[in-house]
Every structure is written in structure tokens, then in C-alpha cells.
Symmetry: C2
Subunit: 348 residues, 2 copies
């Protein structure tokens, strides 16, 4: 069906010949930085390129220059709105700097993450952004850091999103603070009997949010007994099952906090499926403010993170294209977080 007789793409050489100039001149007119080319020649070269449908071979360019225009982004799951929003920000910021972004998914698997980082190094990306939820204490963590350090030693730049990963640059999310504020707001709304659907214990983000929430409650003299903390997957279904488990335990609860919105959505559905009206019977709150939580019923109370900005900022942080000093060491503190009260947590 398609023509098998595929000729190869026009090369710079072809263009030079077509324009009747040297390779060097062609290179300079098309991609050269310092413009030191007779305008006539430049014109000719550009036209020749046009005529031949020439496009710079970025790989060859990268090999010759020793530096690429690639950004590698690692996410746990690109279909998760949390990550896809961040990705949107990264891509947007990258395209402003004419960088191309490559996305790899790790599925929250530390081994796979490590393998992916190794594989990605083959691309010699300028920047590597890790947005996966860092696990803690994993046997792979040390190896990962080693790998990343060596990546930086050889000229790459890495940026983490979420919690501090010194010595690497990080877009800090105030997981603790956000969760604390949420807890306080909820307590002030009159809630007293809390449960948390907490995600896997090894995921640091999950743990931080749990800690912060617990701390906020403590400020109001409310304790969070261990049996009210249910660990489950960091996904919608994890939230659903966690809520089921909570219900099955018979605990008397007036508010359940899921440590991320995707899970909270699962919680809402589980409650409803169990015949409990979310918001009326039991309040529900999440974290992240992904787009959909505004559209579920009741709309979800949550902690807002400007996800796209976070992605954008990660890229800028890594490329040094923001905040004056290229290596300022992390930008101006953590990303601000905001408690958003919606219908899922009416005043009691």
C-alpha cells in the first residue's frame, strides 16, 4: 500500500549542494547561532531547504553538539489526572523553550522506575523530571539516587516533584501543610470523627498528607486512632475498597479524608453504593483538586495544587529558565496550597 521505495530524507549536504554553498555555510544559515552569513547566501540556503523539504536531523545535531533538546518525564500513570495535568504543564513550558518531551511511565514500581531512568539516560536528555510518588526506604532508592547523581555528573539536570529529594532540585508540594489546613478547616466545620483512606504506607506523599492531617486534628484536640487509618492503593479503586473496608469495620465516622482526589472519588462512589449519601451522611475530602472533582456530586472538598504550574515550574527549575539564578536551589519555597470547601463537607 505505501511506497516501499523510501528514499531517505534530505540532508544538509543535499541542501548545500542545491544552494551551491559549502556545508558549513548551510549549517550556519539554518541552525547557526551567531548570524555571520551573507544574507544572499542565507536566502539561497533557506530556499533550497524549503525546496527539498529539509528538516534538521536533531539526533545528528545532538551528536555533533554533544547536547540534546530532550526532556524526559517520568510519571506513575499518565492516565491519572494528577500526572496528566502535570505533564501538560511540563509540555507547555518545554515547547516554549523548543524542547521535546519524552514520557515514560513507571507504574509506581520502584524497580521499573530505576530501569526506566537507566534506559532514558541513553537519550542524554537535558533534563529528567520525576513526578512519580517517591517511595521511601525502598532498596532501589539508593540505586536510583546513584544513577541520578551520575546523570547530573555528566551534565544532566534532574528535578523532582513533591517532596524534598536533596541534593536534587525539587518542586516542593506542601503536602503536610495542605493536609493540616484541611484538617483544621474540617474541624471548624464541626466534624469530629475522622477516618483516613491513606494509600500505601511506603508512598511518601501519602504519608506526609496523613501526618499533616493528623497534626491538624491534634491542634483541635481530635485524635486519629490507628484503626481509623486504612491503607490501600493510590487509585480510584483503592479508594473504593478502602471505603468499603472502613464501612465493614463498623466504625462510627463523620468524615473520611482520602489522601488524593482520585481515591476520594472512589470513596464517594463506595459510600453511595452502600446507600450512604456522601456529604449528608458522611463528609468526604480529597487532595489535589483534579478537574473532575468539581463535577461529581457532591462537589468534593479538597486541597488545591496548581498542577499545571507545578509541571511548568519543574521544567523551569531544571532548565534554570526562571527565578533569576539558574541554580538558585529550588525556587521560592513550596508551591502554595489552598483548602477548598465544597458540597461534600457541609457544616455540621
Amino acid at each position: 500500500m505505501s511506497a516501499p521505495a523510501s528514499k531517505s530524507p534530505a540532508t544538509l549536504h543535499d541542501v548545500a549542494r542545491e544552494a551551491g554553498v559549502s556545508l558549513a555555510t548551510a549549517s550556519r544559515s539554518l541552525n547557526g547561532s551567531a548570524r555571520k552569513v551573507n544574507e544572499d547566501y542565507r536566502q539561497r540556503v533557506v530556499e533550497a531547504a524549503q525546496r527539498l523539504g529539509y528538516t534538521t536531523n536533531l539526533f545528528a545535531q545532538a551528536v555533533a553538539k554533544g547536547s540534546t533538546t530532550t526532556v524526559a518525564l517520568l510519571v506513575a500513570d499518565i492516565a491519572d489526572p494528577y500526572f496528566s495535568s502535570i505533564a501538560a504543564g511540563v509540555i507547555d513550558a518545554a515547547s516554549e523553550e523548543r524542547l521535546v518531551v519524552t514520557i515514560a511511565v513507571t507504574g509506581r514500581d520502584a524497580q521499573r522506575e530505576l530501569d526506566t531512568v537507566r534506559a532514558l539516560r541513553g537519550q542524554r536528555p537535558r533534563v529528567m523530571i520525576l513526578a512519580g510518588s517517591r517511595t521511601t526506604g525502598s532498596a532501589f532508592e539508593a540505586e536510583l539516587r546513584t544513577e541520578l547523581s551520575s546523570f547530573e555528573d555528566t551534565g544532566g539536570k534532574v528535578a523532582f516533584i513533591s517532596q524534598d529529594a536533596a541534593p536534587f532540585a525539587t518542586v516542593l508540594l506542601d503536602n503536610r501543610g495542605g493536609a493540616r489546613d484541611l484538617a483544621v478547616a474540617l474541624a471548624e466545620l464541626g466534624y469530629r470523627d475522622f477516618a483516613v483512606i491513606a494509600g500505601p504506607a511506603e508512598i511518601r506523599t501519602a504519608q506526609e498528607r496523613l501526618d499533616g492531617f493528623s497534626a491538624g486534628l491534634a491542634e483541635h484536640g481530635i485524635s486519629l486512632p490507628a484503626e481509623r487509618i486504612i491503607h490501600s492503593d493510590f487509585t480510584r479503586d483503592g479508594g473504593y475498597r478502602g471505603a468499603q473496608e472502613l464501612l465493614a469495620s463498623g466504625a462510627r465516622v463523620d468524615l473520611v479524608f482520602a489522601v488524593n482526589d482520585v481515591m476520594a472519588v472512589g470513596v464517594v462512589s463506595a459510600l453511595r453504593d452502600a446507600g450512604i449519601a456522601p456529604g449528608e451522611g458522611i463528609g468526604v475530602a480529597g487532595f489535589d483538586d483534579i478537574p473532575t472533582v468539581r463535577d461529581i456530586t457532591p462537589a468534593l472538598t479538597t486541597v488545591r495544587i496548581p498542577l499545571e504550574d507545578v509541571g511548568r515550574r519543574a521544567l523551569q527549575l531544571a532548565t534554570g529558565s526562571a527565578y533569576g539564578a539558574p541554580d538558585a536551589g529550588g525556587g521560592p519555597g513550596p508551591i502554595p496550597t489552598e483548602t477548598i470547601i465544597r458540597g461534600s463537607t457541609p457544616r455540621r
Copy 2:
């Protein structure tokens, strides 16, 4: 903060020297296809590589081989669940074939799409997958086709997702058929007064769904007057505004069909905000079956497309890694579609 004295990554040359073998042997042991290397040597090389922290420079490899391991994926908006689900499929299938995927977003802008395709060609990707909603009749369409043809002429492969884009390979979505089936099912449920929030007239996918829906209604002798068709953005907010407009028109309607789920979610919210109970007062249906529509209230009736599979299939189609014949010309017909009736369209 970071060490400025960045040495460059180890090269194959370094490895060869360290192992005391020739460049060629090193290449063969590390990346060579046909294994024709003394196991002792191979061992030595591998260890040396390990010691030096060597990673194959994929770019250099690509230049030398004249072929890359890159897949370029173009989507309108990566934060839209429709596209992020497809992307997940593409990435998954790609990683199985050890291909790396680069994502670019076009924002449904034909000019930008064209520019992006041109820029992406610089990467000499093996495959280019276009998942954006093709616009029709755009002045850029011809240029785009030219660009893509020339990409294929020079050895690339392109795959479209959605409607036929001959002569390019396409993962066909049965937009018409799916919408038709939905209309029929809805009519059989007892609905009679329909409206459609239809998305931009130039977006082919939107148009096909509208046509199919209309045809299905016609089979039941129901007509869809022009004033019941409201065009708006292909987004959640587009759906919201479309529904507002519909309401404002005072039309008496018992079912509104939004041509995609994201819009339908907006419709549901708009109805609710207007004091109308979606599902009770007015039925709502969408298209795509993105994950969240199961969790909104009422759960949304829709037409299911196996989005991840679609992405996976697009890649396989392009790389020829499925269905026996590499160039079979499109695989086994359109992706099957399935009407899913949920709470948003109770029997009347």
C-alpha cells in the same frame, strides 16, 4: 550547588579501552544483533561498561544506523482523559517494543498541528501517531497531508486515530455507528425530544457522532431539528455553556446528547446548577466512556471505546507488530463500540 565540573558520559570508546578490546567488539557485545562474540570478551566488556556507568548514546546509535527508536504522539490536550488514556496505551505498547514516546500537544489548532509535525520530523521518529480530532476542510489539511506523505516517503510511518485518513493507516473509531446505536437505545428507552451539544462543526469526530445520532433517531421516526443542535467547544466548559444555551432557548427536551463525555460532564453540571436533576428531569448521554463518568451522579450513559486499546493498536498498526501482515492496511475493521446505559438515562 551542583558540581559544575561535569565530565561527559563514558563512551563506547572508553569501554573498549577499559576492557582491552576493539571498538567493534565492544559495540557487538553491548548492542550488537547477531551474537558473534567470545563469551569471555563479552563478559569483560559488560563489566567494563558497568564499571564506567556506560549507557549507549541512542542518538549516536540512531545516526549511525539511520533509524531511531522514537514514536511521536500528537494529541490535542494531554490533560483530557480521552487523550491521556490513548497515550497510556501507546506508551505501554511502545515500551514493549523498546520504543520511546515523545508527546506533543496541538491544542486543536490546525496551524500548530502542522508546525508540530514539521518540528517532530526533526526527530526522525519511526512512527507518528496523530490522535487530535482532525478538522475538516481546513486550509492546513492539504499541507499536513503533504508533510505526512513526505514523512512516509522518507521511511516514516504514520497512523491516525479516529476517522479514515487514507492513504494513511487509521485506527478507525466507529463514531457514526456508535452514535446511531446509542440513539436507537435511547429511543427504545422512551425518549422523544432530543437535543445535541455538538462541538465545533469543523471537528470531524464531532460531526460524525452527530450524524450517526441523527440517523439513529430517524430510524425511529424522530427528527432532530436544527435548533436543537448546539455547537460549542469540545471541552467540559463547552458542554456546560452549550447546556446553558439550550436551557435559555426554552426548548422542551427530554434527552441531551453531548458528543463526548467531557462535554457531557459539563452538561450534567449545568443542568444541576440550573436546578434540574440530570437523569430525572432530563436524560444525559455522552460518548467515549472515560473513567470518570462512572463516578459522577448520575452515572453517565455513554458509548464505550476501549481507549487504551486504541492507543496500543495505533502503535502496533504503525510498527506492523500485529495482525500478521505488516502493511495489511488498517487491521481488522473499526474498533467495536458498545452502548452503555447508566443512571443518567432511566427508562421513561
